[in-house]
């Protein structure tokens, strides 16, 4: 190891509090500035990316959680945007079996929102002319491309209500009741400055989920069907999401 790497490794170990011997090398008060910056920058990035989680936990508890997460899963990128990628798994592991376990679900939902916000643009619109040239008998084998800024998420939590309340009031009163027997099957898409959520019927959700996985139309129809449920009109679903710009083309 070079002298430069030795020096940097020792300094970072001191900042992260990983080695008392390295920590003792530096004046405490001055080292504390770097420690504080490292913790605050990380926590602030999480706070910006997880507003629902922050609102539900409260500022102090959120900060304590952020630092515990940072100790377990330190940043692996110079771009702090990515520091939230593992938060869902971290919370799932640490909150399992506790009353706060649903927070893992919320963090996964919010991370999908972050992905939607930064996903590539897609200006292409669905080419109906191309579809018309394809023999109808082969439509079952068609695969559809969804807009890159589209995600699907299913949760037992009332995420739609929670998100809507936060958008309306800029804060949260608390976790809404979760006694509902139905799941929140959500489509998340980019819109204007932010994202918009659509609550889907279960069959529609399974259908779009299969298309998003790259399944062909026939397979998606099969996977969307619940036993005994023939109510899903796949043609209508396709037309609605093509019209909305969510389904943007065919995968050739």
């Amino acid at each position: 190891m070079s002298a430069l790497r030795d020096a940097q490794a020792g300094f970072l170990a001191a900042i992260l509090g990983r080695d008392p011997a390295h920590t003792a090398r530096w004046p405490h008060r001055r080292l504390a500035v770097y420690r504080s910056n490292t913790r605050e920058n990380f926590a602030a990035a999480l706070e910006a990316a997880f507003p629902l989680l922050h609102g539900l936990m409260g500022h102090d508890e959120f900060r304590a959680m952020a630092w515990a997460y940072q100790r377990a899963c330190p940043s692996r990128s110079g771009n702090l945007f990515y520091c939230g990628a593992g938060l869902g798994d971290f919370l799932a592991a640490h909150l399992a079996g506790t009353p706060d376990a649903p927070l893992a679900d919320i963090s996964r939902f919010e991370w999908l929102i972050q992905q939607v916000l930064v996903a590539p643009d897609e200006s292409a619109r669905f080419d109906f002319g191309k579809l018309a040239t394809l023999p109808e008998a082969g439509h079952g084998s068609l695969c559809f491309r969804l807009h890159p800024a589209t995600r699907l998420y299913s949760s037992a939590l009332p995420l739609f209500v929670l998100w809507s309340e936060y958008q309306r009031r800029g804060k949260l009163a608390g976790m809404p009741p979760t006694a509902s027997k139905t799941r929140d099957d959500l489509l998340i898409r980019r819109s204007g400055d932010g994202v918009e959520l659509h609550r889907l019927e279960p069959g529609e959700f399974r259908f779009l989920e299969a298309l998003l996985r790259g399944e062909c139309l026939q397979r998606a129809i099969e996977q969307a069907a619940a036993p005994g449920d023939t109510s899903l009109n796949h043609g209508e679903v396709l037309a609605r999401w093509v019209s909305a710009g969510v389904i943007t083309g065919l995968i050739s």
């Binding site: 070079s2 940097q8 490794a9 910056n37 940043s75 110079g78 771009n79 996903a119």
Partner: protein, 291 residues
């Protein structure tokens, strides 16, 4: 959704030798609506690494009427870890799209073993570190196919291994790598106070011709039994001693592109513009309106 490349949106605006402001997300909407009468802005590169969405649309819109400087905070050039290929590619994509007048990074590092502090940590000022940093700056410039500027950071600690001063390190880095210098006058002041050296001597030692941009920002003083420590917080107006140091710097260098940086506890947009105009008044340059 706009996806126009830079070549589709026209040539990039130059940055004149007068003051601009750091443009941060809370001001995006107001900035585009009001089009404040300043000629250029600086943004943090990493905030625009997204491949699509609102943020990059904003920057496309701003660049139509303003000069742009891209200022990176996450490349960790001085680290002994390998440079991040992903980070470099994202930066190159942004540079190609925006065609900024200036691209800059810091005289710092932030990772070991791919664990990041995400802070601007000071370099040891040694011969080995200088060789390492110079090589890395050259790699970045080769990759981007353009010159970058390197900014001095505020520091609170110095490495016992230091064998040269920071200003000697920075000047030699610029000479070896061909990079320009982004002189943060507030950082010079903060570090000089914290380490007990002469801020004017620091600036006097730098090759004037290589200084291409100046930063000004606010700092915070913390007093306790161990004395006064200045912290580079970017959450306050530029302090009077820093304005004085800026005045003496400009007297030496002549007017330069000068940025008002304010990142925390952001004031109203008008306040930032007023600080920029104050910088112009000190430099004796006429206020330049946006085209």
């Amino acid at each position: 959704m706009a996806t126009a490349s830079a070549s589709m949106t026209g040539a990039a605006h130059p940055i004149p030798a007068c003051a601009g402001i750091g443009l941060r997300a809370p001001h995006h909407r107001e900035f585009l609506e009001r089009q404040p009468g300043i000629p250029w802005v600086e943004v943090h590169s990493e905030n625009f690494f997204a491949e699509g969405g609102r943020q990059i649309d904003v920057l496309d819109a701003v660049r139509r009427n303003y000069g742009i400087s891209l200022h990176g905070v996450g490349l960790s050039i001085g680290s002994t870890d390998a440079l991040s290929g992903q980070h470099l590619k994202s930066l190159k994509r942004l540079v190609d799209r925006i065609q900024p007048a200036l691209v800059s990074e810091h005289l710092s590092w932030s990772s070991v073993g791919d664990v990041f502090s995400n802070d601007l940590l000071p370099m040891p000022h040694t011969g080995e570190a200088l060789t390492h940093f110079s090589t890395r700056v050259s790699q970045v410039q080769d990759f981007l196919q353009r010159q970058i500027l390197i900014e001095n950071v505020s520091s609170y600690l110095r490495f016992p291994e230091d064998s040269v001063t920071e200003w000697q390190f920075l000047a030699e880095l610029a000479r070896r790598s061909g990079c320009g210098i982004l002189l943060d006058v507030n950082n010079v002041y903060v570090s000089a106070q914290n380490h007990g050296y002469d801020a004017d001597a620091y600036i006097a030692a730098l090759p004037i011709a290589l200084i291409q941009e100046i930063h000004l920002a606010g700092h915070t003083a913390v007093d306790d039994d161990d004395g006064r420590l200045l912290i580079d917080t970017h959450d306050a107006p530029v302090a009077d001693p820093v304005w004085d140091l800026y005045r003496r710097t400009i007297a030496r260098t002549g007017p330069l592109p000068t940025l008002i940086e304010w990142d925390s506890q952001l004031p109203a947009l008008d306040r930032l513009v007023a600080e920029a105009r104050h910088a112009d008044a000190i430099a004796g340059v006429p206020h330049v309106r946006v085209a």
